[in-house]
């Protein structure tokens, strides 16, 4: 009986403190902005570089940054944005996981009146501002490079990103459009490597089994996958006969290009994407009129020089 009463008191006390906590007044934070950031996946080196750039520029602008990893899940991303809205952050920077499925996150932020900036990838719902690069252009540059290397003739394989993500859709469209200019280049097949190095390496190993020496070139829609394919080709002692080009310009890929293992990487400027996204977010918080609602950061072909 004693024990039970003791527990009852415990519950009462908990409930009281609980009620007290409910009525607790808002603590005034420091006089700077809070920006919530949800990133596609921190396992991805390029995305990490964008996040680092955001962090660097946040510090320079006296902004408190909350960076969360959505771990490739659009649902997680939507929930993270809902939590940002609950937290009443001043602005949200979103690096969308998927074109359609991440779209509700943008809609919810807009409905809550919190400015939202998409970086690097798009959603169906238009955000208040957008920073990124035209992914179609990057794929076109890659195909042009391959065509030049092969003198316009040969068999090509394409490793796709995560199906349905804006970058994948655009890079595929860009590659297909560019291929029309090179009737001698034949796309044998394409398959998703889910932006992932290990998955693409396994995919390439299987392709080597099925296509063997017919393969002349591989276009991977990001560097992680390009590096995976490159490794599989090196292991099969075929790399010197196959041109591999990928997109993003992450550190590992640039090193591989310098070492003459990867043929080229199309550099996407993570540094500037992060910087511009931060600038736009701050301007939106300060309710300034934006000069441009969408900012394109151009690509460059990197061949180790």
């Amino acid at each position: 009986m004693m024990k039970k009463d003791l527990k009852f008191v415990l519950v009462l006390v908990t409930a009281l403190i609980f009620a007290f906590a409910c009525g607790k007044k808002e603590k005034e934070g420091k006089k700077k902005f809070i920006i919530g950031v949800s990133m596609l996946s921190m396992q991805n080196e390029f995305i990490q570089k964008v996040a680092q750039s955001l962090e660097k520029n946040a510090e320079a602008n006296q902004v408190e940054l909350i960076v969360i990893d959505a771990e490739r899940s659009a649902l997680k991303q939507v929930e993270q944005v809902e939590n940002f809205i609950s937290q009443q952050v001043d602005a949200i920077i979103l690096n969308p996981c998927e074109f359609d499925a991440s779209s509700p996150a943008v809609l919810k932020a807009k409905q809550a009146g919190i400015p939202i900036v998409n970086v690097n990838s798009s959603t169906k719902e238009n955000p208040d501002a957008w920073v990124g690069s035209d992914d179609k252009e990057s794929a076109k540059m890659a195909i042009d490079f391959i065509a030049k290397k092969l003198n316009g003739k040969g068999n090509l394989l394409m490793i796709q990103g995560y199906m349905g993500q804006a970058a994948q859709i655009d890079r595929e469209a860009g590659a297909m459009a560019a291929l029309k200019n090179y009737p001698g280049l034949k796309l044998m097949t394409s398959q998703t490597g889910e932006w992932d190095r290990a998955k693409s390496m396994a995919l390439m190993e299987n392709w080597i089994q099925s296509y063997g020496t017919q393969i002349n070139a591989v276009f991977a829609q990001n560097d992680e996958m390009g590096l995976g394919a490159m490794q599989a080709l090196i292991d099969a002692k075929m790399k010197d006969k196959v041109v591999v080009v990928s997109v993003d310009g992450i550190g590992d890929a640039m090193k591989a290009v310098k070492a003459k293992k990867l043929d080229a990487t199309i550099i996407q400027d993570a540094e500037n994407q992060g910087k511009k996204a931060m600038e736009l977010a701050i301007q939106l918080i300060q309710k300034k009129n934006l000069k441009e609602k969408s900012i394109q950061i151009p690509f460059q072909v990197y061949i180790g020089k």
Binding site: F8, I68, L75, V78, A101, M163
Partner: protein, 316 residues
């Protein structure tokens, strides 16, 4: 007051209820954003899919089984629902019943195989988990199914009487399951089978038929979850619900349902689901990194069960 004491101390889920209160208190001391109406709505909205899966699998676990194929069945149902809910050609009167039927059929097949082959449910549903995931990828061609109709989107994102629709689903399924488990012959049979299967046979309970129904129910609830999830992100994703079965099972266990079968409660499962949801939300609000969240969550799952055991022993 005595009645409340009774509920808190005597019921199976008293321990988890206390733990939930303590966690809520701890979080609210750390962030003032936690105990706001909008945030509580956000929590309920976010846990709705997990809750519905967990309600279904509560029956399975009480009957002494397990269902690992929840997340995959959810994906299949979500993709089916999305394929027939396209904005141009879709019809919700076909899409939703078809998705539910798909879930029911997959669940029934699980049940049949388990009953007929006597292979442990863990292994059968481990296999069907992979099969269903493959089916989801096949029927969607590996791509997210998007361009869904406005009315489908409504299910996941709109409100009725200012209550978000997913929460309404949560409440309806909660009441349905609580009645089914506690007030019907079916519920009594499920508990009896989990408690002692041989004795149930001897007592004349149609054990095989009940078991089939339990897995069918689990499939139907996975399908409801799949429809809600697809509507919430307005896309049918073949890779949706990866690992959801583990969240649902964790919630059931935290809620005090015995993994050996025989006893458990729906209210306990709801509390377990809320417990997980509150911790996820709270840690997000406190800006704890997602990686640490997983460590904390795993620790808390073990701790909650240990506390609950301790509490049950004290009661005796």
């Amino acid at each position: 007051m005595n009645k409340w004491k009774e509920i808190i101390f005597k019921s199976q889920s008293g321990g988890i209820f206390l733990a939930l209160l303590v966690i809520c208190f701890l979080i609210s001391t750390q962030t003032s954003r936690f105990l706001t109406e909008t945030n509580l709505m956000v929590i309920f909205n976010q846990v709705s899919v997990n809750a519905i899966l967990a309600f279904g699998v509560t029956f399975v676990i009480i009957s002494g089984g397990i269902d690992l194929s929840l997340g995959s069945m959810l994906a299949v149902a979500g993709v089916v629902a999305a394929l027939f809910a396209k904005s141009d050609s879709g019809n919700l009167w076909i899409s939703i019943p078809l998705a539910l039927l798909t879930g029911a059929m997959m669940g029934a097949v699980n049940g049949w195989i388990i009953v007929l082959s006597k292979v442990p449910p863990f292994i059968v549903t481990l296999g069907s988990m992979t099969i269903a995931r493959g089916l989801a990828l096949i029927i969607s061609d590996g791509r997210p199914v998007s361009d869904l109709s406005e009315s489908f989107n409504f299910i996941g994102n709109d409100s009725f009487l200012s209550i978000p629709i997913p929460i309404i689903f949560l409440l309806i399924t909660f009441v349905f399951c609580a009645i089914l488990l506690n007030k019907t012959v079916f519920g009594r049979y499920v508990k009896a089978i989990g408690g002692n299967e041989t004795a149930s046979y001897v007592a004349g309970i149609p054990v095989d038929r009940i078991k089939c129904w339990v897995y069918t129910l689990s499939g139907i609830f996975a399908a409801i979850g799949g429809i809600l999830l697809a509507a919430r992100i307005n896309t049918g994703q073949p890779n949706a619900g990866l690992g959801f079965e583990l969240d649902a099972i964790a919630a059931v266990i935290i809620g005090g349902t015995s993994t050996r079968g025989g006893k458990g409660s729906i209210i306990g499962t709801l509390l377990g689901v809320l417990f997980i949801g509150v911790i996820n939300n709270g840690l997000d609000l406190m800006n704890v990194s997602a990686y640490w969240q997983q460590v904390v969550m795993g620790g808390i799952i073990i701790l909650a069960v240990v506390i609950d055991r301790f509490y049950q022993n004290m009661k005796k």
